[in-house]
């Protein structure tokens, strides 16, 4: 079964072919954007039927060769990636239509997609490092694409953070390898013991990954990078790229480190998460540019993701916590991508994104603003959105395992999100004299955002299927 390999290879092939034959770009982009999701859907069907799927690249056996492994968690991540990359591709086609940088954009874009797919399918910690590095490099290049001072500065900073994060992770990998003689995650799970070396490895790995996921206080690089990138890039950075390093952290925690580290570690992660929620929301509330606001909202929402560690600590309620965390991941991915796309459309139409200068924008761009509002509902965590389901599961987990103090954070965070979303809307709806003037926007930029926002809202309705998929492989 070579399906996983094809999922990685397809975007790479498309990138290679369109570099060789520039005129085939539309064909290549189109077929990658259609075929990759189709393959992922097929893979999902396969693992639902047959269970976890493993394959050895080139036929070498596990300790030597490169192994790809598709369990429920991997395929769920591949799935959300396929949905979001597919929809943003539509948007990006309109966005970059007459841009001279579009040539580089599409190659990098496919490269990024391949890196994400490879990362989610990697079965050993060194391959994870390689894919993480590839992902970081393509993301940095995409941020630098506008070639303006602000974007280049942000990209430079992002590059440094990304490299030092990967380096820290790599040192952790080296320590684990020295102690256990293997890189395969499953084998590590069997052999690794609680020891100073393991603790040091965990510290290195977690430090690197936290930096890449932008958990407070290592979030400083994210707002400028996400706010200054082109809209489709911002969307994918916030929706997927920061989630990739979180995914590694979660997988290693569930298979390896969760049992080997002291319980207080999870609580420390929880405290950092709480600070992220509060600080990120406050900064979003104070931001004067729309994209800055959205970027700080990502800082806040990353905090919710890391609450998964303290909440899943006790057996009682850990089911709910794990599912809640994954729901946060999925719904935030859809909602944040939608919001960034809508914000990009605003910039395209008005030439700026100063919040104060956007009075009456609701009348000018109803579709994009409707998308913004729907996605905002999910970011706040209001029913029936996926964000609500996530929050509900977390609340239940917290109440069931007696960590009620996280309830205060969840509810307070929701109120802060309400504050920053509605601060924007109270200007967007208002009828003041200096109403913003907007140029017409291609439909292909308005509808993808709405589509993603509708995904975020209706995620709540497909919960049973998602749960079944996540269950494959026994982590959930």
């Amino acid at each position: 079964m070579t399906l996983p390999a094809w999922i990685v290879a397809l975007p790479l092939l498309a990138a290679a072919l369109m570099t060789a034959v520039p005129r085939s770009r539309l064909l290549m982009v189109g077929s990658a954007a259609i075929l990759t999701p189709a393959l992922v859907a097929f893979l999902a069907r396969t693992i639902l039927r047959d269970g976890v799927l493993q394959m050895q690249l080139g036929g070498w056996q596990t300790p030597l060769g490169i192994q790809l492994r598709a369990d429920g968690l991997s395929v769920a991540m591949l799935g959300i990636t396929a949905v979001i990359m597919g929809v943003i591709t539509l948007y990006a086609w309109a966005y970059f239509r007459d841009h001279e940088s579009s040539r580089y954009f599409w190659v990098l874009w496919m490269f990024l997609w391949a890196a994400l797919n490879a990362l989610f399918l990697s079965a050993d910690i060194f391959n994870l490092y390689v894919t993480l590095e590839l992902l970081g490099l393509s993301a940095v290049a995409l941020v630098a694409l506008p070639q303006k001072a602000a974007a280049l500065t942000a990209a430079m900073r992002y590059l440094l953070v990304s490299l030092s994060g990967s380096l820290s992770y790599l040192m952790g990998v080296a320590l684990l390898y020295a102690a256990n003689g293997t890189l395969n995650i499953e084998m590590l799970a069997n052999t690794a013991q609680a020891s100073p070396a393991t603790s040091a490895a965990f510290a290195m790995i977690a430090g690197g990954l936290i930096m890449k996921s932008a958990l407070l206080p290592l979030h400083f690089w994210l707002p400028p990078a996400h706010a200054n990138a082109p809209a489709p890039v911002s969307a994918v950075l916030s929706a997927l790229v920061v989630k990739a390093s979180f995914y590694i952290m979660l997988r290693l925690w569930l298979t390896l480190f969760g049992a080997l580290t002291s319980p207080s570690i999870a609580q420390i992660l929880g405290v950092m998460a709480a600070m992220a929620v509060i600080w990120g929301s406050i900064q979003a509330l104070l931001a004067d540019r729309l994209k800055m606001m959205v970027a700080y909202s990502t800082v806040a929402q990353i905090g919710y993701l890391f609450l998964i560690f303290p909440l899943s600590q006790l057996a009682q309620g850990s089911q709910e916590a794990l599912q809640g965390g994954m729901y946060f991941l999925f719904s935030h991915a859809c909602a944040k991508a939608a919001v960034f796309l809508a914000a990009g459309t605003v910039i395209y139409a008005c030439g700026h994104d100063r919040i104060d200068g956007l009075a009456g924008i609701v009348r000018q761009m109803p579709v994009s603003m409707f998308a913004f509002a729907l996605a905002g509902t999910s970011l706040i965590g209001l029913p029936p959105s996926g964000g609500f389901i996530a929050k509900w599961l977390y609340l239940n987990a917290a109440l069931r395992n007696g960590q009620w103090w996280w309830c205060a954070l969840l509810l307070g965070g929701g109120l802060l999100a309400t504050a920053y979303i509605f601060r924007f809307f109270s200007i967007a709806f208002s009828n003041r004299e200096e109403i913003v003037s907007a140029r017409p926007v291609p439909k292909m930029m308005e509808w993808p955002a709405l589509g993603l926002a509708v995904c975020a809202i209706s995620l709540g309705l497909v919960a049973p299927a998602v749960k079944k998929l996540l269950g494959v492989g026994g982590l959930f």
Partner: protein, 504 residues
């Protein structure tokens, strides 16, 4: 979906929801100038909904079970079902939505703001109200309750003026704080009990002893959360400001949507989650009745000093809606009947009053009571409808308001709470004190000569689509009182509900 098959009975609640949800979605997509399409969708949806509700009323009478269940998460389902209580709320909102839609179409004919947006959110708002009415468990209720908040915000700020933006901000702050507190209560109860289905007679009976303390705190959280929308003092601050919304919105907000959703939620929590006997045993009814009684008197006192007509009506709502909570807070079937029937009666009367206030403002530019001298001669039909509504609020027999107050009073006596009689009397006197002067001015004072802004209205005293709805609702308020004992009257349904809640 084990055990759930698609039959008409299983889909009916969902269909009723979709009759406004589908038009809402389509209306959002329609371009602004497609007036005819939009109007047909609005009215078509409303008529279809009324028809389906008719089928449901008939069916519930004949012991059909209507229930839609969609799985959401493990052991959480989205449940829409038709018990006696939900049928009553659904029928009320279906009927009043139809009339308000007619009214709104005429009212917004000349509005410069987007009407697609208005009617889209308007339909969404009604969908949420119907969802609240038919919710079969607390989680479903919570979902539609929050959806209601969201869909009313654009309506409140529809005009986009400084004042309405300010009102919208305050509305959001109050309702989302309330929503968060309510969510905590629901999640806590769910973690404690594992099930939060609405059950006639309550689902708590077995847990009183073990968890009394927690249950009291949860009750407080839930009532505080719901009390924001039900405008229990001191959580009422948003309501008088929100009346800057266009008249049809205020009418809907005060009669069936937001305020009523809060009151309905309190009724559900008391009767179908905790159970009235459990509430009594936990000693929760006295604080609730005190809060309700205070709100009743406070709202009336504040209404006295308002010169702006809509503001006076708003404070009157604060007061009147708490009759429902009061009915729920007295232990005994008679008071229960009084409280529940007031859900319908207050809706009919208050929507009449708001329609009339809108007509005065729209036709003559009259916003203040001091400008209303002799308005009855210019607009006799509207003023007659207003009079019926106002007299009903005061509780003059044989109008609808009298029936509610009568049952509440007798119920209070039967439960040995004679202090409530004093509250009812004081409130009725205050009602008279703030409504009678308006009636006096309207009918008996000499007109001032010219009206602030008079618009030409053709054959009738105002546009017929503005006139018909208040006349219809006034007639209904009259009939609800006159024909209180006939089958299918609100009182008869309330009796049915009370009988089921007190069954052992």
């Amino acid at each position: 979906m084990a055990g759930w098959e698609v039959t008409f009975d299983n889909c009916l609640p969902l269909l009723i929801l979709l009759t406004s949800l589908v038009p809402a979605t389509v209306i959002f997509m329609l371009p602004e100038e497609r007036v005819r399409w939009r109007t047909s969708l609005n009215i078509g949806g409303a008529v279809l909904k009324l028809g389906l509700i008719g089928v449901m009323i008939w069916g519930v009478r004949h012991e059909h079970v209507y229930e839609t269940r969609l799985p959401l998460l493990q052991n959480i389902e989205l449940v829409l079902s038709a018990d006696a209580m939900s049928v009553m709320m659904t029928a009320l909102s279906g009927l009043l939505w139809f009339l308000t839609t007619l009214y709104a179409i005429a009212y917004l004919e000349t509005s410069p703001q987007s009407r697609s947006r208005f009617f889209g959110f308007f339909s969404l708002c009604v969908s949420s109200t119907v969802g609240i009415a038919m919710a079969g468990n607390l989680i479903t209720f919570l979902m539609f309750y929050e959806m209601l908040t969201l869909s009313t915000y654009p309506l409140v700020v529809h005009r986009g003026t400084q004042e309405s933006m300010q009102a919208g901000r305050i509305y959001i702050i109050y309702t989302f704080l309330g929503g968060a507190v309510f969510l905590l209560g629901v999640a806590w109860l769910k973690a404690l009990l594992g099930s939060v289905e609405f059950t006639e007679g309550g689902l708590l009976a077995g847990n009183i002893k073990t968890h009394a303390g927690q249950l009291r705190i949860i009750f407080l959280l839930m009532i505080a959360g719901l009390g924001v929308k039900a405008a229990l003092v001191p959580l009422h601050g948003w309501l008088p400001r929100a009346m800057v919304a266009p008249a049809p919105v205020s009418a809907l907000l005060h009669a069936v949507a937001v305020v009523k959703a809060g009151a309905f939620g309190i009724v559900r929590v008391v009767y179908d989650v905790y159970g009235i006997e459990t509430c009594n045993a936990l000693g929760l009814l006295l604080p609730l009745s005190l809060a309700a009684a205070f709100t009743i008197v406070y709202g009336s006192v504040r209404a006295l000093s308002q010169d702006e007509l809509k503001k006076r009506l708003a404070f009157s709502t604060v007061s009147q809606v708490s009759y429902i909570a009061l009915g729920a807070a007295i232990f005994g079937p008679i008071a229960t009947i009084g409280g529940i029937v007031h859900l319908v009666h207050q809706g009919l009367m208050k929507i009449t009053l708001f329609f009339c206030a809108g007509n005065f403002a729209e036709t003559l530019g009259v916003h203040h009571i001091s400008e209303m001298n002799g308005i009855g001669r210019r607009m006799p039909w509207t003023m007659t409808a207003f009079t019926i509504g106002a007299l009903g609020m005061i509780g003059v027999p044989p109008l609808a308001g009298f029936i509610s107050k009568w049952y509440l009073g007798i119920g209070a006596l039967a439960a040995g709470k004679s202090w409530i009689i004093a509250v009812l009397v004081a409130s009725s006197l205050l009602n008279a004190a703030y409504f009678l002067p308006v009636l006096y001015r309207g009918w008996f004072c000499e007109p001032a000569g010219s009206w602030p802004v008079e618009s030409n209205s053709g054959r009738w005293e105002t546009h017929w689509m503005l006139l018909a709805p208040p006349v219809a609702t006034a007639l209904l308020a009259l009939m609800a009182g006159l024909l209180a004992n006939s089958p299918y009257s609100p009182l008869e349904w309330a009796r049915l509900i009370a009988a089921r809640e007190y069954q052992p």
